[in-house]
């Protein structure tokens, strides 16, 4: 596993791509958080005068959803392209060790990317006495979120030899995970106005997602088509079955199932857990949540590779 780890890590830094990714990430993050005002907080960082990295951590999920897939896209797809994949699969080591070695290399690269932004806290220290708790928490949150996105990217990289396809697929899923958190207010209102429909979405969407993944792993078009058809049918039909939404002024009337859905969405929202840790409050369930995402996608990656190994 260590040999795989070293090989992958060297792969990042031997090429210009690794250095380019770190450089682009640092420049992008710093420009957005120091000079521009993407979150509309009233001017650039110096003008706001707040001795914190709030904007930096605020935009990180969106930037990570684009940059981390670029890190992970080569993890398996590169081996497939260079035809070293078969060699790896025939090595007398378990598949999970190969996958873990690659994942840890990606994680180390992610840590290097974050280390590239340490000039920001250095500047904070130069401008006064910042509260280091939220800064530390923010970096932990970034690392955990990046680790989760990396696991998603690792899994998708294992499904295709096309790096661009791996990148776009991973980026879409990561952006979806972040966007889900941003849309929580809208989804919460939906859960309150149409609780049954929201409940159906919450239960069926992950199952259909897993079915689509399984179909792409097994290259089973019929299952994929069935998943899409079933998803469309169930999630549309529920609106016919569900009663018309209550009047606007009664939208806030809470139903138990609506509240349950809202609470559940809070627990599965990547962004909510990220923001909690980023502001300096670490909940153990937040840590477990990110660890679960990592475990789920690394396991999916291992099983998908094993299915290929035996096919």
């Amino acid at each position: 596993m260590i040999a795989i780890f070293r090989r992958e890590l060297r792969g990042y830094f031997d090429s210009l791509m690794g250095v380019g990714i770190i450089g682009a990430f640092v420049v992008l993050m710093m420009l957005l958080s120091l000079l521009l005002d993407p979150m509309g907080q009233g001017g650039d960082w110096f003008k706001r005068g707040e001795l914190s990295m709030r904007t930096f951590f605020g935009i990180f999920p969106w930037v990570a959803a684009v940059v981390v897939p670029a890190v992970s896209m080569r993890l398996w797809a590169e081996d497939r392209r260079q035809a070293t994949f078969e060699m790896l699969m025939t090595l007398p080591i378990p598949t999970w060790q190969v996958a873990l070695g690659k994942y840890l290399a990606g994680l180390t690269f992610l840590a290097a990317m974050l280390a590239g932004t340490l000039a920001f806290p250095l500047m904070l220290a130069n401008f006064g006495q910042p509260d280091w708790g939220p800064v530390f928490g923010g970096y932990i949150a970034c690392f955990l979120l990046g680790a989760a996105f990396l696991a998603v990217g690792l899994f998708l990289s294992g499904l295709t030899e096309n790096q661009a396809l791996a990148f776009f697929a991973a980026m879409l899923i990561c952006l979806g995970l972040v966007g889900l958190g941003e849309m929580r207010g809208f989804l919460g209102e939906l859960a309150r106005s149409r609780p049954n429909a929201a409940m159906v979405h919450v239960v069926t969407v992950p199952i259909i997602g897993l079915m689509l993944l399984a179909a792409s792993v097994g290259r089973d078009k019929a299952v994929g088509a069935a998943a899409i058809a079933m998803g469309l049918l169930v999630n549309s039909a529920v609106y016919l079955w569900e009663e018309a939404p209550v009047a606007a002024d009664k939208v806030r009337v809470l139903s138990p199932q609506g509240e349950a859905v809202v609470a559940a969405m809070g627990q599965v929202s990547v962004l909510d857990h990220f923001r909690e840790i980023e502001r300096g409050v670490v909940y153990t369930n937040g840590l477990v949540f990110f660890a679960s995402l990592v475990v789920l996608f690394v396991l999916l990656n291992v099983w998908s590779l094993e299915s290929r190994r035996h096919s």
Partner: protein, 754 residues
């Protein structure tokens, strides 16, 4: 082939669903047994012990509604976000006891909802717009926007806090209600609502009256057409109340039909101008003008209140409900403050029988009028005793009191009293006009030996040197001579309490930011002495940054030019440890310098210790007084509190006179009076309030000068530093690889390639 694919797909799907379910179960368990770690330095996201205790003791939920402008001023772009974040934190930390919602008010709605908002006491927050934030800033105008919170607890009347601001610049730090004080504001409001909860109904309340209450009903003959018997309904309701208690006296005054001035104004100020038709209440066919009166003036023990506009009341019970609130307020037991003033009289024209006029008399009057407290001027020379029903005793310039006066205060404190002592080491005369224009004359105030001994006994020592704040300036806005433009007015060199000087955890330090504290001296506390007497100390104000002590060149009349430069090396010694030379008039002090502190515990009586004798009165003793010269009778000590401040100048109208009554009484004194308000409230609400944390932390702000060069340098380091380092590292590595390749090829004998 298809079967094999399907088998893999199903196998994978099964495994992934099982894993997802297992991980969901793990997450559920983690949520059920979650732990929390607040990494912030001041535990910003954790409720203080006091708030937690309060929320645990609540039997019902608290609901907070935040009323916010949909389009706040550009400076407040993040206001809603900041308040929302804070409310969410509180909701999460309260374990479900607190819920919140937001009501956004658009400009269009604000007009429609004006009446409703007024009824709910929601008012606009007004920001003063200036051309800058330093003392040379000029006021450019005002900007209003909605930012208020309404706190509901149970079925009681909600409490509204207007003017909730977020911290954007230095000016905001001195405002009363901010995002970082919301935890305290909400908790305190709940305490207030809970304290009001046990009110007796109005009919029972009037049966307990000790004095007569007079309710005068003023109504016009004309009444709204839709409710022509309104006047009679109100009258019947008041008479019903009078039936409950002979103490209730009802009078009625009827303003003649159609009384209106020629310019259209109504003849009496509380009449209601209405768009609806009015009719003569005696003859509903006769139409009246579009205004009418329904005003009840209530007078009790010299206090009065006016209730007007009964338009919506149609029954006697609803009328009684309408006047219940003001009546409760008038009849509630008053918080009583006692004031002991320094000897002397500044009014040479005082008539016999009138109380002596001291520099603090205006402040006392202000406190009485504004806070609704009863204010008792205690002349110990006459009364010989401090009433024991006082909430707080405030002693101005105790360093000048006679020994017997101090004896009485000592006994009061030892018996569990709450005392605020405002020491005044220096008497200041600020000349802004006349021959000594723009000078400050300081004279050392005498400190009696017995006061020094008394302080020493309690482990307290007052320094000798007056303290100056280099950047100190109080800035009440004053109209300029040239025109209507207002400009800040400085009180030079006076210490002004800044947020950084205040103990944010202390209730006593609440709302003191921006308070001028002219020429305090340092307070030194002997902690060993306090520990021996089990007295808890909580510092309230400790001055930081650029505080200078004054070394008088001529102690008899040390005039200081107001524009003195504290940068002049000839006059100022910057090293706090150095021995000042003979020409040095100012020396920088080693900060922080303590100028206000709160001591709580059971104070021993100074006169009980070592069996000291009772001091003599200046006048003959009253019956029952301890005999002078004999050993003081032993006091049964109880827990009390002593708030010490080493400057009374903020309430000294004589010192502030040069600035005009308007600035002094309306701007400066309200700040200084906050000391007593804080103290009185801790007396009213007890330990629940004392334990609340006043301010939760906020992200620190940039300090130091932000020059363009410094800004560009850090931009370069942050944006370009790492990429350039990586580029350099890459180039070095490529060079090294090229060199290694050359060496390798040379070793093979092939020679370097061109």
């Amino acid at each position: 082939m298809i079967n094999r694919k399907r088998s893999y797909t199903m196998h994978f799907l099964l495994l992934s669903i099982l894993t997802a379910v297992a991980l969901a179960a793990v997450n559920y368990l983690a949520l059920a047994h979650r732990a929390r770690l607040d990494l912030t330095a001041d535990k910003r996201f954790t409720l203080s012990e006091g708030t937690q205790r309060l929320f645990e003791s609540l039997t019902e939920g608290v609901h907070v509604t935040y009323f916010v402008d949909e389009e706040p001023p550009p400076k407040r772009i993040n206001l809603e976000r900041d308040v929302r974040d804070k409310l969410q934190e509180l909701a999460v930390s309260s374990g479900g006891k607190l819920t919140w919602s937001i009501e956004r008010i658009t400009a269009a709605e604000a007009q429609d909802k004006l009446e409703e908002l007024e009824k709910r006491s929601i008012q606009k927050t007004i920001d003063v717009l200036t051309s800058g934030t330093d003392e040379s800033a000029r006021m450019k105008g005002f900007q209003g926007y909605f930012s208020s919170i309404e706190i509901k607890y149970g079925l009681a009347e909600p409490v509204v806090i207007n003017g909730v601001r977020n911290l954007v610049d230095k000016l905001d730090e001195a405002t009363e209600h901010r995002v970082d004080t919301l935890e305290f504001d909400i908790s305190f409001a709940v305490l207030q609502i809970r304290a009001k909860g046990g009110k007796a109904p109005i009919r029972r309340l009037v049966k307990t009256l000790k004095d007569d209450i007079t309710i005068t009903l003023h109504t016009s003959e004309q009444m709204p057409a839709k409710n022509p018997t309104l006047g009679e309904t109100i009258n019947n309701a008041l008479n019903a109340l009078a039936q409950e208690s002979p103490r209730v006296k009802v009078q009625r005054s009827i303003v003649p039909f159609g009384r209106v001035l020629s310019d259209g104004r109504q003849a009496w100020p509380y009449g209601k101008v209405t768009e609806e038709e009015t009719v003569d209440s005696r003859d509903p066919t006769r139409k009246g003008p579009k205004f009418y009166y329904t005003v009840a003036a209530i007078l009790y023990q010299g206090r009065y209140d006016v209730v007007f506009d009964f338009a919506d009341e149609t029954t006697t019970e609803s009328v009684l409900t309408k006047i219940e609130g003001p009546l409760q307020e008038l009849l509630r037991p008053r918080t009583k403050l006692g004031f002991v003033l320094p000897p002397g009289d500044i009014d040479p024209r005082r008539q016999p029988g009138q109380p002596a006029q001291t520099p603090y008399s205006d402040a006392v009057e202000y406190i009485r009028r504004t806070f609704g407290y009863e204010a008792d001027l205690i002349d110990l020379g006459t009364s010989h005793r401090i009433p024991r029903d006082l909430a707080v005793l405030i002693a101005f310039e105790p360093n000048q009191y006679a020994e017997r006066d101090l004896y009485e205060i000592d006994r009061y404190l030892a018996e569990g009293g709450n005392v605020v002592m405002l020491y005044q080491g220096w008497d200041a005369k600020l000349e802004v006009m006349g021959r000594f224009r723009d000078t400050l004359a300081l004279n050392k105030n005498p400190t009696t030996r017995h006061f020094e001994d008394w302080c020493k006994f309690h482990g307290i020592q007052f320094g000798q040197d007056a303290l100056f704040d280099k950047g100190g300036s109080m800035t009440p806005y004053r109209r300029s001579r040239q025109g209507s433009e207002q400009q800040p007015t400085n009180i030079p060199l006076a210490v002004v309490v800044e947020p950084r000087d205040l103990n944010g955890d202390s209730i006593y330090g609440r709302w003191l930011a921006g308070m001028p504290l002219p020429f305090p001296v340092e307070i030194r506390i002997d902690d060993a002495e306090l520990a021996a007497n089990k007295i808890e100390r909580q510092d309230v104000i400790a001055l930081r940054d650029d505080i200078y002590r004054f070394i008088p060149a001529n102690p008899a009349f040390p005039e200081i030019p107001l524009r003195v430069s504290l940068d002049s090396p000839a006059e100022v010694e910057k090293d706090p440890e150095a021995t000042p030379g003979k020409d040095i008039r100012f020396q920088r002090t080693k900060d922080p310098v303590l100028v206000a502190t709160s001591l709580r515990g059971t104070f021993r009586s100074y006169w009980d210790a070592d069996g000291r004798a009772v001091p003599a009165w200046a006048r003959p003793p009253a019956a029952g007084d301890p005999v002078a010269g004999q050993r003081a009778p032993e006091v049964k000590s109880r827990p009390g509190s002593l708030l010490l401040c080493s400057s009374a100048g903020t309430l000294n109208i004589e010192y502030l006179w040069g600035y005009g009554y308007e600035e002094a009484v309306n701007v400066v004194i309200p700040k200084g009076s906050t000391f007593f308000k804080n103290m009185a409230e801790t007396h009213i609400y007890g330990e629940d309030l004392v334990r609340l944390r006043v301010r939760t932390g906020v992200a620190p702000r940039l300090s130091g000068e932000l020059s363009e060069g410094r800004r560009l340098w850090w931009l370069f380091v942050c944006i370009g530093g790492i990429p350039l380092m990586l580029l350099a590292a890459g180039m070095v590595r490529n060079l090294a690889q090229a060199r290694a390749r050359q060496d390798y090829e040379a070793a093979l004998g092939a020679g370097p390639k061109e």
